[in-house]
Amino acid sequence: MPTDELPTARPLAPWRATAVLLFLLVAGGVILFRVQNAPKRISVDVLELLPRDEQDPTIRLARQTVSGRFGRTLYVALHDTAHPDKAPVEAAALVAGELRANPAFADVFTGLDPAAKDRLQQWFLDRRLALRLPAWFDAMTARWRKEKGPNASAEPDSAWLAAAAAADLGEFQNTSDALAYQERLPSDPLLLIPGLLSVFGSQDKATAGSMAGGALVKKGPDGITYALIQAETRGSQMEEAGQTPVFAALDKGLADARAKYGPGVSLRFTGVNKFASETREHGLKEVSILTWISLGLSFALLLFAFRRVVVFAYLLLPILTATLWSLEICFAFFDRVIVVALTFITVLVGVALDYGIYALVHARQTAGGLARALKEIRLPLVAGCLTSVGGFVFMTLTNLPMLQQMGLAVALGLVFSLGIDFLYLPWVPALRAADQKQGEVSNASGRRLELGGMRFPLLALVSLLVASGLVFAARLHWSDDIRTLSVMSPALQDEQTFLRGLFGVESKQHPVLTFGANLDEAFANLEKFNATLSSTATDPADRFINLGRLFPTAGQAARCREYFRSHPRFADDLRAALDKDFNADAFAPFWTDWETWRRANDHDAATGPAALLSGLREVLPLPLQFLWSEEQPGSAWLATTVSDGLYNKLPPAALTAPNTPIDQTQTINAALRRYRLAASQRAGIGLALIAVAVLAIYGWRRGVFMLVIPALSILLTLAVLGWMGQTLGLLHVVALLLGFCLASDYSIFLGSPGELPRSTHRAILLAASTALLSFGVLSFSKIEALKDICLTVTLVIAFVLVFCEAGYRLFVRRGAV
């Protein structure tokens, strides 16, 4: 081993240096996977793209909701392949029984059985006067005013009210419902319960299935009849507690059902946990396949260029170590790392590879091998690295977790990678073999850029490119859509739509939550929302349903209390009115209940509508428990379902806090837009500072040469994207930043070729080609986010390659730089 090829000071033997790196690599892997449990901390929840302290109250409330009961619901459907037209209700009962007994499940619902119906109806019947009398009284008052004209008193006469009630009862006896309702009429001559039913239209009765053999069954659009189970997991489905034990329970339930009822029994389910788990697997699997293909192609190219396998091992070792440790730090800083940020980190490998390639190509032309080469080119390497790092460091200054994670991991990865290259590569024996070919065009790095006679045509060409670039770039449409950031597979989406459809959840109706500090405040807010909904509804198809329509408003309750306090004779008037056509004594249960209610009305203090909810939770089956919630301290909500037509007519202000549509796509997209603008601003500042630094280090002319190439590449990339009619968003901004960093690396290398312009040119060609391959392959990803990033970067690199080639032939080779 010739000593002149090695650095004079050598603290480590080559094998020891390699061993240290290998140790770091293995230790990093163990810490990442075992200690930090990284795979379980990768988030696929698109809402985690936004900061936890997001200021938009609507988004904050939506996050709370998703992390609450809504995010713990599981929809399960069983069918029998041997008997597709018969729902396997016994198998469903068995599975449901096992789920009920499993501590991972909080509640399991297989249908509204007669006993549950009885409990529910009894609850409403027991409270019919408190719940429905205020609305009944309001409606009768309106009728009184309409009938008696503008000169009538504000409140109906007690005798008139009693006569009107008796007349209504007489009419009711002629209806189709009368036969079935006779039994209840002695308790309800005011028809409060039929009035409750009239709140619902036939459209509201689109069912989530029907009961058969004690189970909820539904024939699917595929012609198969399913037995349905709705379950609520105890733990959050975004986390481990809501996944593995739940999946295991379902697997066991299915296995037992098959053992008892035949192998044809099949089970399908959907829930946030499946979504999270499979999305993580799917996303990571695809990224890993594409990354391996991309790395494989890059290696093949490098093999072709260097013709020595061992070279890659030495090049790759620092990069893998750097990437691994940058991830360590990223996971140390963030509880959960978003999968989109993680996929972005994988492209770091391609960027870091460039430093090694540049050093290697130089080393083959330099007498001193890698140590000497690294020393000679340290300035462009450091400048190039800092350019990239600078751009990404500024991303960490935004408050968007995804950008922070990307920025931190990529910046650290690049610094670590270059640092390890400087420390490790000089000791690598396999790379010391010099292939020196001196005699290239000597080129002092301090020489001034000379344009000579090319000044005019060059300026004209650049101006033309800039002008045409601007024309096409002006056609760009900027918009952010959070759905493109989802990595859910289309098959999973279809499965979710299908299963939720069986449960009636995919109808054209929009769930909106009305929040309040407590339920009474939520009811007060709901009253205002209901007023807006009622005044906006212009078509019979415009419908909305919520508890506010069943429960009295505070105003209704107060008016009702006051009237019946001041009209104690109403019961006598009613008795007299009923006795004309009916046997008044037949209404004995009503008179008793009325007297109890009247005494309470006279003596008890007024309570809010929330007090009426007492005990309802206990008699409600699982699906109905989504009507309201007070599980988050200081934040209660009431759910409203709004028909599609009415929802679209609502003024935007009606759907802002305290009213929160569960589908937050638009609000989140608006937030993403804000973050895009913030990211553009910060990255712009970072790049401007870098440009100043490059100009300061390399001087005006050379600095401009180094900056024009990436700037022009970015502009033309935007032009191509505009020509393609692409819609650009936050991720494109990140991709353009990455593209700029890569492009400036190459232009800095090209602009400071030292003594070996040809080898610099060769290194750039090789590095850009590998980057092109890496990003090109990844742009075939089905993950929209990754595809957008990689397509954009691929375009930038393609332009850089062309400009660098032109720059080399026009200036560098001729010694003009």
């Binding site: 009636g504 046997n583 569960i662 589908d663």
Partner: protein, 234 residues
């Protein structure tokens, strides 16, 4: 995350109430002479000749139309309620009761999808079999009777028969408890091949009687009649 308050959740609430009255009846249904044990027909044996003739006619008539008078006797009412109207039946369309001689005319339609209460002016209330499975047995019972499907009738009810060709009485006791509570015992009276009266006997002496006038056999229902009196395209 989308979508997670299913609209249909509210419906379960509605269903609970729609099912309420039928679920709470406790008294046994009222009775009539036809329900004597000796009059019960055995599903494995041939039907009496008269009844076969009635079912034969029902099976072959595609449509029928009767004027009717309905009398409702309720425990809480001092006097029976009387309404008049037109009953239309069609094998393809189901059964329609158009209440015309009343302060609030309306149409009740029963078919294999459920029940519709159609109000004048276009409003209607639908009770679907999907929401109320107990309704399926009830509509099947009526529709099989309408179609002259004697064999199917035995699937849904115990069948009783007595009388002569000139004056016969058919009794049905539904097997399904929910249907029995809703419809009570059903007594159908007739003379010759024709039905003349249909009665629902409920507890507490409550009952609904449908007196049928002269039948018009196989009338041709124009599309607008089908649209107005049956489910039609709506």
């Amino acid at each position: 995350m989308k979508k997670s308050v299913p609209a249909a959740l509210f419906l379960a609430l509605a269903c609970a109430f729609a099912g309420t009255p039928t679920a709470l009846r406790a008294d046994p249904p009222a009775s009539a002479p036809v329900f004597a044990p000796a009059n019960q027909l055995n599903p494995g044996k041939p039907l009496p000749f008269t009844l076969r003739q009635v079912f034969h006619r029902l099976e072959h008539d595609r449509t029928e139309q009767f004027p009717f008078t309905e009398v409702r006797t309720f425990a809480i009412s001092k006097n029976p309620l009387r309404q008049t109207g037109t009953l239309r039946t069609g094998k393809e369309y189901g059964l329609s009761l158009s209440y015309e001689g009343t302060a609030k005319p309306h149409i009740i339609i029963v078919d294999d999808k459920g029940l519709i209460d159609r109000q004048p002016g276009g409003g209607e209330r639908q009770v679907t079999i999907a929401d109320h499975p107990e309704l399926a047995a009830l509509t099947d019972l009526y529709l099989n009777l309408l179609r002259g499907n004697a064999a199917k009738l035995f699937d849904y009810a115990d069948v009783y028969f007595t009388g002569t060709a000139q004056a016969w009485e058919l009794g049905l006791v539904p097997h399904d408890a929910a249907v029995a509570k809703r419809a009570g015992k059903v007594v159908i009276n007739g003379g010759g091949h024709y039905v003349t009266r249909l009665e629902n006997l409920l507890p507490n002496g409550e009952k609904r009687t449908l007196e049928l006038g002269k039948v018009e056999r196989n009338p041709k229902f124009a599309p607008e009649v089908v649209q107005a009196f049956f489910r039609g395209q709506s």
